[in-house]
Symmetry: C2
Subunit: 191 residues, 2 copies
């Protein structure tokens, strides 16, 4: 660990956005989970939430490119508990979902504390979760296929959040973490 | 083929953007090629260009979700010839590339005829191609990993193009294809 590397890690922590996250509700393919996590790192997300019936998180592919080292995963047995927890933290919980009542993803204010719920490759976000979240958001599609790859959908929404948060100065306004949390992360990342 | 299905196909053709495309320069993994093509369909791209030493296009994964049926693939042996061809068609050719001289991808006018060059998973866009294109564009990243998945990078750029073209009314201003091209596509899609 050189002083230069330490400075790079510390700067990345300063840009971390603890009030932005995703909840993957039974996203199945490890390569999709890995691609989402790689994107999360790029927009400054420090922790993601995953609902899994079993712990399958061990079987990551290579495509996270080391990002899984820098993004924490909190596992949940139950999506509804996870949604409640995130709402109790003051986050708006938005399900990425292809429905007629969904709002265009570009019309959302992502500078607010936000969690994006992503659904399973085949079946999408489960009904019960859809009923529990605050709003559904949709990425408008102009072709013939019905949906985007889940990691692509995640990236489009998260980079819209990144765009809004960059414009609002939220990556340059100093760390949003407590000193304790900051030191804990730095310790984890340098092990 | 019901009349309803025919109308859906015909509407999709009306939204097609023949002056927007991508050139995949040795993108290796079939699942990445498939994910890019699925996204291309969603933003109304009717034809993509692929540079391959050999024809590997046969080995698609399932993740194009049928999009490869609706998006034509033109194969090229040589990237430089492909870039010349696209420039001769009047397109600005932009390489998605992580370099210091690259322009932020959101500062580009994508309502102009445009081709986005995407590079290989490991090595990126080759030097010779980088020298031949009109400009390099970059997606700003705020974390610790060095690059995004190629299909994620493609989606972010293409949906920025979609956003600009939607705003400019380019999806609702009537077909940009000749009647002949329109009929040819409809014929292909209904076989
Ligand atoms: C492959 S899609 C699931 C498709 C599923 N058949 C459905 O209708 O929900 C996987 C996940 O990606 C997200 N997704 C894909 N395309 C989307 C779009 N255009 N708008 C919003 N979310 C999308 C959603 O979270 C979805 O649950
Ligand atoms: C995994 S990246 C290649 C990384 C390679 N080591 C490099 O430095 O070019 C594969 C392709 O995705 C695109 N890409 C990935 N992240 C990008 C970013 N942040 N900005 C622009 N293009 C990106 C580029 O076309 C790149 O060639």
């Amino acid at each position: 660990m050189t002083p230069e590397r330490l400075a790079i890690l510390d700067d990345a922590i300063t840009r971390r956005q603890p009030d932005l996250t995703v909840l993957m509700d039974n996203v199945n393919k490890p390569r999709n989970v890995a691609a989402v996590i790689r994107t999360c790192d790029a927009v400054g997300i420090s922790k993601v939430h995953c609902v899994y019936p079993h712990d399958r998180m061990s079987s990551f592919g290579g495509t996270a490119m080391g990002a899984d080292r820098y993004v924490e995963k909190q596992l949940h047995d139950d999506a509804l508990n996870a949604v409640s927890q995130l709402q109790a933290e003051g986050k708006q919980v938005l399900a990425a979902h292809l429905s007629d009542s969904a709002v265009d993803f570009r019309d959302i204010d992502y500078t607010k504390p936000t969690c994006i719920v992503l659904g399973q490759e085949k079946r999408g976000v489960p009904e019960a979760t859809l009923a529990a979240v605050d709003q559904h958001i949709i990425i408008p599609m102009l072709g013939l296929t019905e949906s985007l790859n889940v990691s692509v959908a995640a990236a489009l929404i998260l980079f819209e959040a990144q765009r809004q948060r960059m414009r609002a100065g939220m990556y340059t306004s100093g760390s949003k973490m407590s000193d304790e949390e900051r030191r804990r992360l730095l310790f984890c990342w340098t092990q």
